[in-house]
């Protein structure tokens, strides 16, 4: 761009007599120094941004990051102790549910830390919404579960 090129032009208003002198073409850097400097800068820029891009890509596409906490599951006694005070045993007793028949509970599912992706688990467990007449939708469910997404209405 003109603004960054050094003045190779003759001073304006003093154009030399065409017959004698040939002025140096505007912008031309016969030494090639400018070209080399800019080329170096450009490649450095590409390398820098490229490394950054690779890092970003790795960050986005990298494997799962499991939580570190092996959060101990509180034992039944502690939870059960609460049930006495509320008088609502149903709500306060920890429930241990037997593996749901037919739902294909992932037997090979991850250890507690959940390091593996257990490819079969969600697929097997999530029923296809299509079959038979099993479209029981609890009343009022839509309103209940509909909390707003961050995108609703307000961008930020």
């Amino acid at each position: 761009m003109p603004a960054s090129a050094p003045a190779t032009a003759p001073p304006p208003g003093s154009e030399p007599d065409v017959a004698d002198v040939v002025p140096a073409p505007v912008f031309v850097d016969a030494t090639g120094r400018r070209r080399r400097a800019i080329r170096t800068t450009a490649f450095a820029f590409i390398a820098l941004v490229g490394a950054y891009g690779v890092a970003v890509a790795l960050s986005f596409l990298g494997g799962p990051v499991p939580p570190n906490a092996l959060l101990p599951i509180p034992g039944p006694p502690s939870a059960a102790s609460g049930s006495n005070s509320t008088g609502k045993p149903d709500a306060s007793t920890p429930h241990t549910v037997a593996a749901h028949a037919g739902s294909g509970t992932p037997t090979g599912t991850a250890p507690v830390s959940g390091l593996t992706n257990s490819p079969g688990s969600s697929q097997a467990a999530s029923p296809s919404p299509s079959p038979s007449g099993d479209r029981r939708v609890p009343p009022g469910k839509v309103g209940k579960s509909a909390s707003p997404g961050p995108s609703s209405g307000h961008g930020h």
Binding site: M1, A7, A9, V22, F27, V56, L58, P66, R135, G149
Partner: protein, 712 residues
């Protein structure tokens, strides 16, 4: 073979295309990240919660159980809230406006809470997440993009968990095992799809936190309503309260919180975090360094994308507004110009002129050129300067010797030298300069010299038109000449800052040429250089729109590229050469302060932004609102077409060809900005350029020649 120009040495640079492609791809990547965080990219559940499906596979004990569900290691347990305890939880943050207010209320009453964070927002505001943890609150993940996990693919879920965990690791220094799925509610609202997602979350090591007390604050039902939603009717059952500190106006939430905490405390409630509510140890552990680094890169990526996309969005908006303003300015000045120039310039000028035709291998077109000149009534001498042609140019010119056409032959020295040579041998006080492939209208010379009745006018630009208007390329160039160049010239004329008298048709006063020492070959646009020099010498340069010449336009993309490369590079050279006119007074200052900024803005800077516009457009077409994009585009097109229509009317051209205007956006426009990039790079790095010359086909003769007889 003998090069036409001395400067024929190096080839044009190429490596910068790598840089350009790289930059545009990076920009597209940033747009993708921006879109992901701002919920434009990613489809799937990001548009909202799914329509509930059957819930027959959700174990009854889970549906009827407590709000914290553990499916880790294949377990299916839920945990109730300890009676007398309350855990406040806030979803969707952090938000720069509301999160600090929520934190302030919590600090005021010295109570902890649990924040379920959206990863993208953490990346935007990592300091808020840090403040939450520093104040003794717990954090959990709420996905990266607030995606509906039930509808997400397995890969997507893993992505949502991992990215959020990473940025929380980086922002807060702790890793968390808590997860709340977006759009979740109480356990009895779970359907089969939710349940599958929950079990997947467990497989990833997360404890799923739902709620047993939805404040429904997101509906903004009023402060009193939110308070009533949370307060239990009687007793002190354990409460896991769901509220929101982002996603809209949360002033009601903040106000309700300020009322609720004292009320609940008065009832004897103990405020705790989610893990405290179920009697579990902290779900937070110190973050692993490698994960923190991953999160830092993500934060940097999100923030740099936010900044870049926002800044470029504004720049493009400003550019669009400027483009519209320019068109309005051009239409306004063209209208004024057309009115002002309706009458004669003054007493008719019949002074004999010297017509100088530089010719290098012009055997295809020179005959038509000379015939059209001889058809002109104006008294003249015609001098053809053969610049060392290797074809039959001279032989053709010699046949016109009886008509008074003089031939001067010189060794190949370039067009500026040929013109200077011709002028040195000319007798007239007015020089008409044209290219050897241009055909003049019968009254072109007479029209062209009329402005010289004003002694202050040093040069006159004629109206160059495209002779070969066949094919899309010919039509596009025809439109560009009529709309772009000629509207611009009317503006320059009124503003007193004409930067270019085209080499195809222009007239010069001998004194003006002598003042500037003739033509210089220090730039590749000797016509622009000459015109600017003449203005700087104190002469006025005007536009005679009725002096019409037809010129042969490049017929292939390759030739067009070469021509425009020379034009734009040469124009940059001339502008740089005459840059000091910015500080001059009088006419030279008008050139420097009106003409040059106009050229820099509309011929260099805005066209250089065009590739960015294209990247944004491609992104918008794939991920954005196609209807809105199309509307904006059609709006621009409508303004352009209106301007084009008016320009065609002013120039008395047939409007029909304007149908190809929308298509100009697709090949022509890209070619124009790519050639500009090439020119700018060449200028910056200082490479020598060889003269880019097109091969003449003699089309002006075939088409323009017919029109000479048919028009006017």
């Amino acid at each position: 073979m003998a090069g036409r120009r001395r400067a024929a040495r190096a080839v044009p640079p190429r490596a910068h295309w790598l840089l350009v492609a790289f930059s545009l791809i990076s920009l597209f990547g940033m747009l993708l990240i921006y879109g992901l965080v701002h919920h434009e990219v990613g489809g799937e559940g990001s548009s909202g919660p799914h329509i509930p499906v059957s819930s027959d596979q959700v174990p009854a004990a889970i549906a009827q159980g407590g709000p914290v569900i553990d499916t880790r290691g294949g377990a299916q347990r839920s945990y109730p809230a300890l009676p007398g305890h309350i855990a406040l939880s806030f979803d969707d943050g952090p938000d720069p406006q509301w999160t600090p207010q929520v934190l302030a209320v919590l600090a005021k009453y010295h109570v902890p809470a649990t924040f379920f964070l959206v990863g993208g927002r953490v990346a935007q505001n990592p300091q808020l997440a840090r403040a939450e943890v520093a104040a003794g609150n717990q954090v959990g993940i709420h996905t990266f993009t607030h995606d509906d996990l039930a509808m997400a693919s397995e890969w997507r879920r893993s992505f949502e968990f991992s990215q959020t965990q990473s940025v929380i690791d980086a922002a807060t220094g702790v890793s968390t095992a808590l997860l709340r799925p977006p759009y979740s509610s109480e356990p009895d609202s779970l359907d089969n799809a939710d349940w599958a997602a929950l079990r997947d979350a467990g497989a990833h090591g997360y404890l799923v936190v739902l709620t047993n007390r939805d404040s429904e604050d997101w509906m903004r039902p009023g402060v009193a309503r939110i308070v009533a939603n949370v307060l239990p009717a009687q007793g002190t059952p354990g409460l896991l309260v769901m509220m929101h500190d982002a996603g809209g106006d949360r002033s009601q939430t903040v106000a309700a919180l300020d009322r609720l905490i004292p009320l609940l405390k008065a009832r004897g409630y103990t405020f705790t975090t989610v893990s405290g509510l179920i009697g579990a140890p902290s779900p937070q552990t110190p973050a692993v360094s490698s994960q923190q680094w991953r999160g830092r890169v993500l934060i940097l990526a999100v923030q740099s994308s936010d900044f870049t996309v926002t800044a470029l969005g504004w720049i493009i908006l400003v550019a669009g507004v400027l483009s519209i303003l320019r068109l309005l300015l051009l239409l306004g000045t063209a209208r004024r110009h057309a009115r002002r120039r309706r009458g004669p310039w003054g007493p008719p000028v019949w002074e004999p002129v010297s017509v100088i035709v530089p010719a290098y291998n012009e055997e295809a077109g020179i005959e038509a050129t000379l015939i059209s000149l001889l058809d002109n009534e104006h008294p003249m001498e015609i001098i053809v300067v053969d610049d060392g042609s290797t074809d039959g140019t001279s032989a053709i010119v010699r046949r016109f010797a009886n008509d008074g056409v003089r031939l001067i032959r010189q060794p190949n020295a370039g067009k500026p030298a040929a013109l200077n040579n011709g002028m040195a041998n000319a007798r007239g006080r007015i020089m008409v300069l044209l290219d050897g492939d241009t055909v003049f209208a019968p009254d072109a010379i007479h029209q062209l010299v009329q402005p010289f009745s004003d002694p202050g006018i040093g040069a006159v630009s004629g109206n160059a038109k495209v002779a070969n208007r066949t094919g899309l390329l010919g039509r596009w160039q025809h439109i560009e000449y009529v709309v772009g160049f000629n509207l611009d010239r009317r503006f320059y004329d009124l503003a007193g800052c004409m930067p270019t008298v085209p080499g195809a048709i222009g007239a010069f006063r001998r004194e003006a040429l002598a003042d500037v020492g003739g033509l210089s070959d220090s730039t590749l646009a000797e016509d622009t250089d000459l015109t600017m020099a003449i203005i700087r010498a104190g002469w006025r340069v005007v536009y005679a729109q009725d002096a019409i010449a037809w010129t042969e336009a490049p017929a292939s993309l390759g030739q067009l590229w070469k021509q425009r490369y020379r034009w734009s590079y040469g124009t940059m050279q001339a502008m740089w050469k005459h840059r000091r006119s910015v500080f001059d007074g009088g006419g030279s200052g008008r050139l420097g302060r009106r003409g040059l900024p106009y050229l820099v803005l509309f011929q260099i800077l805005l066209p250089l932004l065009a590739p960015l516009v294209d990247v944004f457009a491609v992104y918008g077409l794939i991920f954005g609102d196609v209807v809105k994009m199309t509307e904006v585009w059609l709006g621009f097109l409508a303004v352009q077409t209106a301007a084009g229509w008016y320009a065609f009317t002013l120039d008395r051209e047939r409007h029909r060809v304007l149908w190809s205007l929308p298509l100009q956006q697709f090949v022509y426009r890209q070619l124009m900005y790519l050639v500009l990039i090439q020119s700018a790079v060449t200028a910056v790095i200082g490479t020598r350029l060889r003269w880019q010359r097109m091969d003449r086909q003699g089309v002006a003769r075939a088409l323009g020649g017919d029109r000479v007889g048919g028009l006017e």
